[in-house]
């Protein structure tokens, strides 16, 4: 659809280097997808070495111990961005580490897949395990694979920082991922053209567009006949190291927000609590909203002891979040203008208000990419992205008669 405008925001990213967070005494390592007892390898009282497997779930990424220590408890708790999952509480002790050995055997494709699955890498863009993402891209036959350095969040700058400082690893990871997916071309996606000078030798695609910039970029590339896809730079760097046998146990997140004294990009071990990250940057006592993850999809935290998942990308603390009082739709049509997928969220909103919903009138809802731009621009404060997701569920479920 023409006349798309997108949602514009003020960007306050931190452009500092990536700092290492001192490893906390206790870590609460989330083990997503390990609902079955046999998937949880770590048990209470176990001594684990750094890099040792804690959980081996069937459909999610494996969790590894970032440091050597004692498993004090295995508990079921809420983790922002992961829902209710099992987590291993690890007390730091000793300095044992498992011997890493490079992935061997088979062809390159097989080794890449093995490395991605065994290292428990999660793609920070989608929040899904990297090996599943690689399968998906291979099935879609992408021709251009891009390392995503686009920052389309007001406070986040971790992707840019990782690209800047770990370019060697990211480039190697990108090459490995592309060899698995069968993508002929590699590249880097950036927010502005000015940054491109720092990456000579790479094909650079710029998404100089308002939020959701990633979707607008993919849309533009698709129109020019290129089937492109984005992968997070952290996952790519982890893939490069995973080939040497190292598990993904550290992540990089931007800690920012107007309730934080100095915004920083921090490298933190798995299981670090929100409090550790925020106190490193100086959290104001007046903060009234803390959320983990990007502003559009993140989840608010009320308990600062909750651990930050490795794919979080940013932790933001705000002083005065905007209050949202929902009023009736005034029909301004902003939601339809910002939607990169051509959905009419106001129409879905009207359709869902009726007593009987006709699923055939819910047009295009299955194309929703959950960017939440419609909710962000709605002047009436309506939860439009949630309604589109509900409509997609109705359409998919089949029990509508």
């Amino acid at each position: 659809m023409p006349f798309l405008r997108g949602y514009r925001f003020e960007y306050h990213g931190a452009d500092g280097p990536i700092e290492d967070l001192p490893i906390p005494e206790t870590l609460c390592v989330p083990m997503p997808g390990a609902e079955e007892s046999y998937a949880r390898i770590a048990a209470q009282g176990d001594l684990v070495a750094a890099g040792q497997v804690l959980s081996a779930p069937k459909y999610a990424a494996a969790a590894h111990a970032p440091v050597s220590g004692v498993v004090e408890a295995v508990e079921f708790r809420q983790i922002p961005g992961c829902g209710h999952v099992w987590a291993a509480v690890l007390r730091r002790e000793g300095s044992r580490a498992v011997r890493t050995k490079a992935v061997t055997g088979g062809g390159l494709e097989e080794r890449v897949l093995c490395a991605a699955a065994e290292a428990g890498i999660v793609d920070e863009i989608t929040g899904r395990p990297l090996y599943q993402e690689l399968y998906r891209l291979r099935r879609r036959e992408v021709s251009l694979l891009l390392a995503c350095g686009i920052e389309d969040d007001p406070w986040c700058s971790s992707a840019r920082a990782v690209l800047r400082e770990r370019l060697g690893d990211v480039g190697e990871g990108l090459r490995l991922a592309a060899s698995f997916c069968g993508a002929e071309e590699l590249g880097i996606a950036l927010s502005t053209r000015e940054e491109a000078a720092a990456y000579p030798g790479f094909r650079v695609e710029t998404a100089n567009a308002p939020y959701p910039a990633k979707a607008f970029l993919l849309r533009r590339l698709r129109k020019s006949g290129v089937s492109a896809s984005l992968i997070g730079p952290q996952a790519l760097a982890a893939l490069c190291r995973a080939m040497k046998g190292e598990a993904q146990t550290f992540g990089v997140a931007t800690v920012a927000g107007d309730a934080v004294r100095t915004a920083k990009n921090l490298r933190f071990p798995a299981g670090t609590s929100v409090r550790e990250l925020l106190s490193r940057c100086g959290l104001s006592e007046d903060a009234s909203l803390v959320y983990v993850g990007p502003a559009a999809q993140g989840s608010a935290v009320t308990d600062l002891d909750a651990p930050v998942p490795l794919h979080a990308r940013c932790v933001t603390a705000l002083l005065h979040p905007q209050r949202k009082r929902a009023v009736a739709c005034i029909g301004c049509g902003r939601c339809a203008r910002v939607c990169p997928q051509g959905i009419l969220p106001w129409e879905i909103h009207e359709a869902l208000r009726k007593s009987s919903v006709d699923p055939f009138l819910l047009l295009g809802v299955q194309n929703c990419i959950n960017c939440a731009a419609c909710t962000a621009v709605c002047p009436a404060g309506l939860p439009l992205s949630a309604e589109v997701a509900r409509a997609a569920a109705i359409r998919k479920s089949g029990d509508f008669f």
């Binding site: 514009r8 608010a300 301004c332 106001w346």
Partner: protein, 322 residues
């Protein structure tokens, strides 16, 4: 530290319904300045009467029916000011109050308050006043005669509005400068073309107004005025008088700019503007009243859901319409 639990997204809304209504209110208040200089503070009292009536009706009905303090937004004040702008400065104070009460009680609240009304409440209020007392609604004062006294029922030097001259097939003679600054007999907020243009630019810059309805409305009206002039003159003169006199410009900015009663799709809004302008120009040719903008807008409002439905069904058939 008390942390709030709320759902994503945590992005700031650039516009809220409240701020959009605030922008409209500011633009409407700016329109009051010129009439205030020309006719004295009487226009302020007329605007106050309409606003107070709208606000009181909104609040009292809210307390009685929904046990809430009105609809909680500025929409009733916007309606009140819009009603006052479409009435002449000589109007007795009870008429804007009555029109405002009708707008809120009969057109807005029964349909479910802000966001749900099918018809523009202000246009309906003024249409009601026009039908009830056309003699008062079209009784314009001559701005050259100076300030008006503040009593409700007044005697004044009547001016002949360009609308009535055009309706008789005669040519009004107003200096271009007076035409732009609104120094000719007319309704309170409808004469100053320059101020109306500034208000439109303000609202567009604040992103509180969509351009397509307004542009389609004005272009259609101009084309109709050029092709079918009411007076034997050049096309350009006809366009000048048809567009700059009467309530056409005001309707283009404030009545067509209302997002609630206009269609929600781009194509629908364009068609709405063209339809409203065509109806308005037809009413000027054959209508009984000299100003028919409110009636044209009300008729076009009824077509808003139809236009939206047509665009949506075209989209369902695979036609790529915005």
């Amino acid at each position: 530290m008390k942390l709030r639990a709320c759902a994503a997204p945590f992005l700031y809304r650039e516009k809220t319904v409240f701020s959009m209504q605030g922008d409209a209110l500011f633009a409407l208040l700016a329109l009051l300045v010129l009439p205030c200089v020309q006719y004295g503070p009487r226009v302020l009292l007329a605007a106050l009467a309409a606003c107070a009536s709208c606000a009181v009706c909104d609040i009292v009905t809210g307390l009685l029916v929904k046990r809430s303090f009105g609809s909680g937004d500025l929409s009733s004040l916007v309606t009140g000011l819009t009603v006052a702008m479409l009435l002449p400065p000589t109007v007795p104070y009870w008429l804007p109050a009555l029109a405002g009460a009708f707008a809120i009680l009969a057109v807005k609240l029964p349909f479910g308050a802000t966001g749900n009304n099918l018809f523009n409440p202000a246009a309906a209020g003024v249409a009601f006043a026009t039908v009830c007392r056309p003699d008062l609604v079209f009784a314009y004062a001559d701005p050259a005669a100076g300030r008006l006294s503040l009593e409700s029922e007044i005697s004044f030097t009547a001016g002949t509005s360009p609308g009535s001259i055009l309706a008789k097939g005669l040519m009004p003679s107003i200096l271009p400068r007076d035409l732009l600054w609104g120094v000719f007999p007319g309704a309170i907020g409808c004469t100053g073309a320059l101020v109306l243009g500034a208000a439109a630019i303000f609202l567009l810059a604040r992103r509180s107004l969509r351009w397509e309805t307004m542009v389609c409305f004005l272009v259609t009206a101009a084309v109709a005025a050029a092709l079918f002039p009411r007076i034997p003159t050049t096309a350009l003169t006809s366009v000048k008088y048809e567009l700059l006199t009467g309530s056409l410009l005001f309707a283009a900015v404030f009545l067509c700019g209302d997002p609630v009663t206009t269609p929600r799709t781009f194509t629908g809004r364009c068609c709405f503007g063209a339809l409203a302008a065509a109806l308005l120009m037809a009413m000027r040719h054959v209508g009984a009243y000299e100003q028919g903008a409110c009636f044209a807008i009300l008729l076009a409002n009824a077509f808003s859901p139809v236009l939206d439905g047509a665009v949506l069904s075209a989209r369902m058939k695979g036609v790529r319409l915005p």
